[in-house]
Amino acid sequence: MESSGYLWTAFSLAWALVFGYVLLLINRQRGLRHDIEALKATLKEKEGRK
């Protein structure tokens, strides 16, 4: 591999790692939103029973 190949490999891998982690966080945030919606639905159901 040429020197420039190593340079692009390093930058690509580093940014792939950062983007991968940010995507993971976005995914977790979606999961939490889903949990919040489920909690709201449960609360409504409980209030309805009262």
């Binding site: 591999m1 020197s3 420039s4 190593y6 340079l7 490999t9 390093a10 930058f11 891998l13 580093a14 790692l17 950062v18 982690y21 940010v22 966080l25 977790r28 945030q29 939490l32 949990d35 919040i36 909690l39 449960t42 609360l43 409980k46």
Partner: protein, 221 residues
Amino acid sequence: MKSKILLWVSLLLMVFNFYMIFIYAPIEREMGIVQKIFYLMVPAGWLALLSFVIVLIGSILYLVKRESRWDALAFSAAETGIVFTTMTLIVGSTWARPVWGVWWVWEPRLTATLVLWLIYLAYFLVRSFTAEESRAARFSAIVGIVGAIDVPIVILAIVVWRTQHPPALIFQGGLAPEMLQALMVSIAAFTVLYVLILIQRVSLKNDATEIARLKGLLRED
């Protein structure tokens, strides 16, 4: 709102950082273009160490005050830290191959950085093997405090031992002014990105803790 401002600052700084690395900073005579990996390796290494300092502070404050926000800070810094330590190891290896002719050398700085990565891993293993949240926070805080011993070892490895790793050129005036300026911009750009990610991670952790608490309350009802 603050996060949006930080996001824009981070984006603009990162664009400027790319300009500084690839256009402004000159190509080093001996190593050639591969030396530019340095502008990625140093900020990644700095953030790996900074994370561990934050883990240490968060862990101590959690053990003293027993407030979950300090555990959230330590946990989030550990997670962000493992990302940047992984980046340091990958980018470092990609630099070592063309410069040293090998992907990996068991020399003090590299080995201490690998140990740092393993300590981060231990931090999460301890958490995942402990079912109760407060116990997990307590045990991982101890790992965070004990593991911080590795931070000065990583920093001083190139001073104390004879090593293949390049010396701290930044502090010895061995860098051309343009290179030093590019490095400083890169450190600033990555630090802002790190702060942005850390804030989001802490917020996620706090939300998850709150949701878990509410779920528990609902189950009790």
